[in-house]
Amino acid sequence: MASITVPVGGAEREIRELTRPKLRISDYLRWSVDHKIIGVQYMVTSLFFFLVGGTLAMLIRWELLTPNLDVVQTGTQYNNLFSVHALVMIFLWIIPMFAGFGNYLVPLMLGAKDMAFPWLNALAFWLIPPAGLLLLGSMLVGGPEAGWTQYPPLSTLYSGDGQTLAALSLHLLGISSILGAINFIVTIKNMRPEGMGWWQMPLFCWAILATSIIVVMATPFLAGALTLLILDRIGGTSFFDATKGGDPQLWQNVFWFYSHPAVYIMVLPGMGILSEVLSIHARKPIFGYKMVAMSSMGIALIGFTVWAHHMFTSLTPQLRIPFMITSMIIAVPTGIKIFSWLGTL
């Protein structure tokens, strides 16, 4: 060991307490490059959108109490409700919530002063509120009505203007995620202290690393798909319009090439948190640390080969087999994690 931790003595602690500026609520409401403030900003903002998404879910359930239209006036409005609910929960709750955890914890776990690019970090956060408003505002202009998967031609030829706004909002959120992920990768790669090699890194950092690699590699595909969608809607193109030579399946392929890995964007940080919390409360080191870390990377890697299992009802039948195989294989690293957690106990 190159260094040991020296407990902060009484006098020194007092000085720190005195010199640390007291944080006010207003500090969280303005531009800040402090990773902890940004972490809290992420978490509070996503919690707010969680409540918004939850309210939409309540409206959906309320509507479903009876077979008649009670809460909404038309079937389209009902479709708006669940489309916006889904988009809010995925892009404004789960993903930014974990970004919040990452921002708050990763520098602390690495013993780094802050993230590698504090300013970029703040920018990534501040893209979220306008994107959220844009998405919620889309409900006022005929809302997205094609679900969170936004399959064309329903989303291109048959939906209201809200669909365009939702796509723009997702664009902003995509940029935010990519900026955040680049920041995490660089922080984890370069800002580990001396003596902390890859294999000494906390498992949560491994999880965030795997997640960030997925984000950086997959999100540009979402951006590509959304750009084509917006062009089809307002630019007069026909990438997805079969009557003019386009192909609706193009969207499905590109969209799922992002959105299946996105499933792992949503679950890997959670698994990382579980690995840490379980180990601490069991008061034992994680069982099979390397395997757990590698399984995160394995999931990230295999996650890129399974996208078409979301298209089992639309894909050419012969192509379904390879995707079935990869989809089953991805159960193996997930199983490793679960058995390792059990082993830890």
């Binding site: 009902y78 998967t149 099979g288 089953m328 294989i329 159960a331 058995f339």
Partner: protein, 486 residues
């Protein structure tokens, strides 16, 4: 740190003793028994099995459930056991044992899932290949989906009607249909299939992506614009099942369903086809009747978006598109003024090229349905009667190729004459109906209807007059009622 943990090896290396093996065997047997239990009782909540595929899929699912059930019990069992066995005892404040892993164990729990996955892959592959393989003697049915309705097309030979027809008397459209393969295309909003008869569905959507799903058959396949997708199944149980759209397609997606009827044999199947064929080879002579019948049959998706109180009994309560009540008045006034077309041209275009002119306040949502032109003319003829006053504000000239000639007299005779012609509904002989004067027509028509409605009367109504009607038409009494009304 409060206390020092006794140093334990960082890798556990418990030797495998006889007791360990015994425990593993007992636990293994218990897990498999538990898996079988789960695998046996869970399928009872599945829908009925009504096709050969449903049995294959369920068998595979059963295997998955047994394996999954055993794994579930193993994981949950280990979790509960570990929480209990390794809990902190009162007074214990030290860290737990400092064990970092066990390479053998890790390899085992990576390899076993990998082997399970491998086996499942092979099994699934076999089932899937057999499901998509073309079957011998399979029947091809075309499925069309448009928001928010299904229809199914069958190619059937004229012979199912059990009598001879002079095909030259059919309308040009029907003759054209017969020309290539001697079969007529019948369109139905219900999917009829035969028990034991393999089916291949050839499917295309008219607008967005839809999905063909029959839970009782365990088959699901998307319909993609610009492609023809197929799905194969062999029904094994007679009965009525449900077909649902499972790809979000818009406002009334939840109502996009169709009935699937599995009939026991070919005779029953043909008898289901006969009324459809009859409408084609012996159509009501009046295009207004044909159009009404067509719309009321729910073959086309019109009703899912439009409202028409004249047909309110037949699901016509859609609210996505403009209501069709009084459409004839609007066609004759504002719409023809806006489009510069005659009212009938406007209505024809509105159905045939829906994007050509959009009613203010409505988006370009109506798909290009590509209905046969003659059917569109029939619908236009019927819609021309949908006016405030009940009188058509304009007359629709149906093109000659759309008129069959089996109602030779019908072309000239009044609608009432058709009513009388049906007097032979109960007999084989040609009906001879004579009408004295127009003033008496209504009365005569009613008499005729009464005779048809009552099969006991087997007579031929004879009224002095000149018009002679020869027909083999056997319309249903309700249809006649409609034609007789002023």
């Amino acid at each position: 740190m409060a206390s020092i943990t006794p140093q334990k090896p960082h890798q556990s290396n418990s030797g495998i003793s006889g007791t360990t093996i015994a425990i593993i065997v007992v636990v293994g047997v218990l897990l498999i028994a538990g898996g079988l239990l789960i695998g046996t009782f869970t399928p009872s909540i599945l829908p009925v099995q009504a096709s050969a595929e449903s049995k294959q899929v369920d068998n595979l699912f059963h295997i998955l459930l047994v394996i999954g059930g055993a794994v579930f019990l193993l994981v949950q069992g280990l979790l509960v056991y570990s929480i209990w066995r390794f809990r902190a005892k009162p007074g214990e404040t030290a860290d737990g044992i400092n064990m970092h892993g066990n390479t053998t164990l890790e390899i085992v729990w990576t390899a076993i899932p990998a082997i399970i996955v491998f086996v499942l892959t092979i099994l699934s592959w076999q089932v899937f290949n057999s499901m998509i393989a073309p079957k011998e003697g399979e029947m091809s049915i075309v499925a069309n989906a448009a928001r928010f309705n299904w229809n199914f097309q069958y190619a059937m030979p004229l012979s199912i009607m059990g009598k001879e027809y002079d095909t030259t008397k059919f309308s040009q459209a029907v003759q054209d249909d017969l020309k290539d393969d001697g079969k007529l295309t019948l369109t139905s909003p219900t999917l009829y299939v035969m028990k034991g008869q393999p089916v291949v569905m050839e499917m295309t959507p008219k607008d967005v992506i839809h999905a063909f799903w029959i839970p009782a058959f365990r088959v699901k396949q998307d319909l993609l614009p610009g492609r023809v997708t197929t799905v194969r199944f062999t029904p094994t149980e007679s009965g009525e099942y449900l077909l649902e759209c499972t790809q979000l397609c818009g406002a009334n997606h939840g109502a996009m369903r169709a009935k699937v009827i599995v009939v026991a044999n070919e005779t029953d199947f043909d008898s289901m086809m006969m009324p459809m064929m009859k409408d084609m080879v012996e159509p009501p002579p009046d295009p207004i009747d044909r159009g009404r019948k067509l719309l009321a049959s729910d073959v086309y998706p019109c009703y899912t978006c439009h409202n028409l109180s004249d047909l309110a009994s037949a699901n016509w309560i859609g609210n996505v598109g403009p209501a069709l009540n009084g459409v004839a008045d609007r066609a004759a006034t504002t719409r023809s003024a806006a489009t510069g077309q005659t009212p009938q041209e406007y209505l024809f275009t509105a159905i045939h090229e829906p994007q050509a002119y959009l009613v203010p306040g409505y988006g370009p949502l109506m798909p290009q349905l590509n209905l046969p032109e003659c059917e569109v003319w029939d619908i236009v003829a019927y819609l021309s009667t949908q006016s405030e006053s009940g009188q058509p504000p304009f007359t629709v000239e149906v093109p000659p190729q759309c008129q069959g000639s089996n109602d030779a007299a019908g072309a000239e005779a009044t609608a009432e004459a058709t009513g009388e012609a049906t007097a032979e509904a109960t007999g084989e002989a040609t009906a001879e109906v004579t009408i004295e004067a127009t003033a008496e027509v209504t009365t005569v028509g009613e008499e005729a209807i009464q005779q048809i409605a009552n099969p006991a009367i087997n007579g031929t109504p004879t009224v002095e007059g000149t018009v002679e009607v020869t027909s083999e038409v056997t319309p249903e009494p309700t249809a006649i009622q409609a034609t007789v009304a002023p």
